[in-house]
Symmetry: C2
């Protein structure tokens, strides 16, 4: 079980500290070491009478066979975007985020979201904050067609500053549907990108530091924009349930990836025996142009920290591309576009940017 657990446990911490500054990477090493220590201790395997884990190392959710059903379980948090919500005292967006970050991980294994539980650790319970969180949660649940079946709210002023928010989502595979892992990807397959709504829930430690360092007024909009930058930065993570369910109903995806914490590196979780060539990525616009200009980070850092405009990737056979794009369009996904394809080799390549990622 350790490798399965490791896969999930190493997911989602790239926004920590100075990680994305000047490629120091120190803290990330520490995380890997710490998690390695933890997982080395966990070598137990529960008996089959407790259900059977389905081996899917490195993937976006843990899979489990219980009785006659295959289930997917995943847990994720909103992260330091919450501190921006605190600064602006706007909480509806992050309420939606906690649904999104979890259900998108379910979609990335081809599971249909079924239920969510939330975890709120808070310094003190302000009713207006909870009301806004509830509105966001409701919007997310509606979009993901997901039930809220429980939650835990803990008032821990000695442990948490402001408010921490995470969740766990349970998904399943409707009759006749198998998990989509990317294992069958082969040269010639095409990668379709679904647009993001902004930074989603990743990279905010860096974003907040840059805002502070350059004393940026987030109450003002970026050029050519009407809404304040702060509101743009809080835009909730897109929920890809509807378009992905539509594709799955048409049996089109051979690979699915949620572009979260590690940016384009997430593709490496799908298949280590093919090369992901991203040669048709959209040009960075809006927030992505802004962060590139402001941070002056090299493309390699940008594309492993931010989604850079593509929040979800779908792999399909070449002859199915038109059909997939038309299914996506009908599900409301009008700006989906081909962003690359599969080649012989391994790793992720962004040839126009001279970037190559070989490990997650």
């Amino acid at each position: 079980m350790a490798d399965l657990a490791a896969a999930n446990l190493t997911n989602g911490t790239p926004e920590a500290g100075p990680l994305t500054y000047a490629g120091t990477g120190v803290r990330q090493d520490l995380v890997a070491i710490a998690l390695g220590k933890m997982l080395a201790s966990i070598r137990t395997t529960a008996p089959a009478s407790s259900g059977r884990p389905v081996k899917l190392p490195g993937h976006f959710a843990g899979l489990l066979r219980i009785g006659r059903e295959t289930l997917a379980l995943t847990t994720d948090n909103v992260g330091t975007k919450l501190l921006l919500a605190h600064t602006l005292d706007r909480w509806e967006e992050v309420g939606e985020d906690v649904v999104a970050v979890n259900v998108n991980d379910l979609s990335a294994v081809g599971a249909r979201p079924s239920a969510l539980v939330d975890y709120i650790a808070v310094q003190s319970p302000v009713p207006s904050v909870f009301e806004a969180l509830g509105k966001g949660l409701a919007r997310g649940l509606r979009e993901a067609r997901c039930h809220l079946v429980g939650g835990e709210t803990s008032i821990v002023p000695d442990l948490v500053r402001s408010l921490d928010l995470s969740g766990t989502a349970l998904g399943f595979f409707p009759r006749g549907r198998a998990p989509v892992t990317g294992a069958t990807l082969r040269p010639g397959d095409v990668l379709i990108g679904l647009p993001s709504s902004g930074f989603h829930s990743n990279g905010y430690t860096l974003v907040r530091r840059l805002i502070e360092e350059y004393s940026i007024d987030i109450a003002r909009p970026l050029p050519d924009d009407a809404r304040p930058l702060g509101h743009r930065l809080l835009a909730p993570t897109r929920i890809y349930t509807r378009p992905v369910e539509a594709l799955l109903a048409a049996h089109l995806p051979v690979a699915l990836a949620h572009i979260s914490g590690r940016g384009a590196r997430n593709l490496l979780r799908l298949n280590s025996r093919v090369q992901f060539t991203l040669d048709a990525l959209p040009a960075p616009e809006g927030l992505f142009r802004w962060i590139a200009d402001l941070s002056r980070l090299p493309a390699e850092e940008l594309y492993q920290t931010f989604n850079m405009g593509v929040g979800f990737v779908v792999g399909v056979r070449a002859k199915q591309v038109d059909r997939a794009l038309s299914v996506l369009k009908r599900s409301g996904e009008k700006r989906a576009q081909v962003i690359g394809h599969i080649e012989k080799g391994r790793g992720v390549r962004l040839p126009e940017l001279g970037v190559r990622y070989d490990s997650y």
Copy 2:
């Protein structure tokens, strides 16, 4: 869904702030108001194609019907016991706690634990801390016969002091087993208590304040004890999976309750049309004697803040008591004892202490 969610969401925060001091209860009111606001916003119901929640208001876990299986999902955290772990730099016990607090809630609906995901929010990742957490997690998982299928570790120094630890557990009902809700409890039924190992994961904000207020040296043992008080305080929450599974295999329980956050009030979650008369509770010993003497709290406060020696309660028919006690003994539960019975009426009564609880 709102009532189902409310049931879980209001679970588990009684250790907050001055709640247990002099019965102020102010903060608890705030939590209820805040959660009420949040849940009022969540009126959405997902379609049946996403699985169907099973109505079980007020209970220890959310239940869900997916395909041909009924599943139970619950989430809970370790709470401010973590600050004691931090002070003593001992983390193995709380690693076990995060398994225990969740799987015991599954046992309380009669579900068999299957899988856990953990969530760690941490100031900085210290390898030795994670190694110890892993050892505790492993021990808990082994005892609960539960798989670890994923997790999330987030380095959020601006959000969390020290380390916050929570988890979510998924359980199921083996073929032929139905959820145990307590709905069929009737006068004459008998309540059996399973001993706790200490305060489990509840009441630590109060405990820590008393230690500070009276400058108590937790490196020294209590009278008639060999181990330091600090180690006793960190004793991991007992995991009741084995004894409860043994009882369920013999079709004995008609009610099950995990005595967590709200102490004896947890029984109120089972059935509102009968009275729970606890007239044979064990006399407080060890830590429980100590906290009673030190805090000078009235019995009403003590029994709603701490488990007072009983961590899990099983309701059985009167004629099944001997069989249940013998099944428990065979499963290693030698100190299980009858602690009370069901009478006509409603609420929880501790007649010898003059205590009565009428609402959760």
